[in-house]
Amino acid sequence: MQPRQGSNPLIDVRKLKKYFPVRVTGLQRFSLRREGQRFVKAVDDVSFQISRGEIFALAGESGCGKTTTGKLLSLLETPSSGSIIYEGEDLANMKGRRMKHCRRRIQMIFQDPYESLDPRFTVMRTLLEPLLVHNIGTHSERNELVSSILEKVGLRPPRDFLMRYPHELSGGQRQRIAVARAMILNPTFIVADEPVSMLDVSVRAGILNLMLQFREELGITYLFITHDLAVARYMSNKIVIMYLGRMVEMGSTDEVLAQPIHFYTKLLMSAVPTPDPSAGRVRIKGISEVADPVNIPSGCSFHPRCQGRQEICAQLIPEMVDVGKGHLVACHKA
């Protein structure tokens, strides 16, 4: 599963930023003291490239900006600054027909299959909608397409599922419908945001293997967002670890997870439990919790929790440094 690192990547993300203004809520609205507008730096200066046919994992704890990055790449949010070059075009601030065209090529799979299907739509209608939006095929061709995609996602025979409503399906089946909806437009790139974390353990593998199968057969490229490093290891060939909106480590998945360099990556990995009662594991004592995203610490945002912190860490934001073989780390000690 070596990434076929082409000279021109499918997606080239450059210095991507997304700041959300902090909305004052409730009674604070009436405050006489107006402090300067504050921002949550959900995504801050993120750059990476995704090659064709690659599964690119974004991993980190909640609030690290991975979901926002996914939304930016699937055109559901517009970046504050930076660019996302997709097939030579900048997705940032794209509008109208070109945006619609790109949306056909870029699809999304959401975390919660109980949320991502319209409860009032039958499976048939859910799957027809994208075809109708893009005016694809005749009536019978569309029906044909729907049946064949159901077949492909393993819901056989399709006619048993066409007229069902989401509440008549199990979690795994729903997520297969969600995959089918993403696949029916024949996309090149799919953003999958925690596609299995809400599913029961026993059906997770089915969805993961289905996605792998589409990659092998159709060359689909994925951005795979997950908080679970084990799942990232299983799925991806490249990985980025994010912390408070910034990238802290990037490289081939095997390399990063075998030889993590950033203290945060090490901390994350050491915290993952092992399904083996007799295997002891070395735990790094974590220090406190993730900082408030509105008040991100100065310098390296991880420094208050970092065991290897030095004086410089509180002052200067570390740059991503290549430590060899495309393995990049944002740490002053690297």
Partner: protein
């Protein structure tokens, strides 16, 4: 004598025209200081099982058979008044979602003290001193007692919940998905905290989780639940290393690991049966790749020695262990 033993316990929910068999004949026992893990997927009845122990069920729940014996007392026969006094003082809980388990309009410290004062004759001052030292014990500054829940982070709330569960020095703590809502680093800290507390206070514990890894690391004994029944149980080393039920085997091969070799994962096709219309035979038979004609009959719990039990006709069949059941 076991601290807690469930003896063929059955608890159904009465719906308008049918029974939902959430707990359907479960036997389980737990010694003092022991930790047992209950693992199962959503809808398998694990929450109903632990709420049965505390008798905190919705009004349409009916105990239709079996016994729950705690420290020699049959809990199902205990009058509500005595049951209430037993709650928290003898059996306390750590809730899944700490955010929701704390009442938003009262100070956290007061809520912990409230549990203490409900069971012990203490002045407010004494209770507060005790709560404060407990806060320090679980790694929260004592001054944090006076904060409201919304002023706590997720991990801090979970620590406060742990402090609350310890406040009456119970014999048994039931932890319902204690870390599911938490990020992995905090999860690790909380689990370690719980373990440390257990070493210090020596209470028994039931940990309910859908996460096999969490169970593997925290529990000495494991019970695997499926459709209202425990289909396999044993000490965790033998169960994880030598599972004897196709469902357990399937579960163990369905999630990836961070360490060790990479294996192709397999999923268990189909979905668990509807609890209101369970199949006649083996509950897992419709999804089981090893199913044979004998599986049309409900298997009995088979004793495999060494406290390892499995509810599969083939549990002692060496062939089952050799066959690669899961993954094409």
């Amino acid at each position: 004598m076991a601290l807690l033993s469930l003896d063929n316990l059955a608890m159904y929910y009465a719906l308008e025209s049918e029974w939902v068999k959430a707990v359907d004949g479960i036997s389980l026992s737990l010694d003092r200081g022991e930790t047992v893990g209950i693992v199962g997927e959503s809808g398998c009845g694990k929450t109903s099982l632990i709420l049965s122990i505390l008798r905190l069920l919705p009004e349409n729940a009916r105990f239709v058979g079996g016994r729950i014996v705690f420290d020699g007392m049959d809990l199902l026969k205990l009058p509500e008044q005595q049951m209430r006094r037993l709650r928290w003082r003898r059996i306390s809980m750590i809730f899944q979602n700490a955010m929701n388990a704390l009442n938003p309009v009262f100070r956290v410290g007061d809520q912990v003290a409230e549990a203490l004062m409900a069971h012990e004759e203490l002045s407010k001052r004494e209770a507060e001193t005790k709560v404060s030292s407990l806060f320090e014990l679980v790694g929260l500054p004592g001054s944090r007692m006076n904060n409201y829940p919304h002023e706590f982070s997720g991990g801090m709330k979970q620590r406060a919940i742990i402090a609350m569960s310890l406040v009456c020095n119970p014999d048994l703590i039931i932890a319902d998905e204690p870390t599911t809502a938490l990020d992995v680093v905090v999860q690790d800290q909380v689990l370690r905290q719980i373990k440390e507390m257990q070493q210090e206070r020596d209470f028994a514990m039931i940990v309910v989780s859908h996460d096999m890894s969490v169970i593997a690391e925290t529990c000495e004994k494991v019970a695997v639940m499926y459709s209202g029944r425990v289909i396999e149980q044993g000490n965790s080393v033998s169960l994880f290393h030598d599972p004897r039920h196709p469902y357990t085997m399937g579960l163990l091969s369905s999630f990836p690991t961070l360490r060790g070799e990479k294996k192709r994962l397999s999923s268990i096709e189909g979905s668990p049966p509807d609890l209101s219309s369970l199949p006649e035979g083996c509950l897992f038979q419709p999804r089981c790749p090893y199913a044979k004609t004998i599986c049309e009959k409900r298997p009995a719990m088979m004793d495999l020695g060494g406290q390892h039990f499995s509810e599969c006709h083939f549990a002692d069949d060496p062939q089952l262990r050799k066959t690669k059941l899961w993954g094409r």
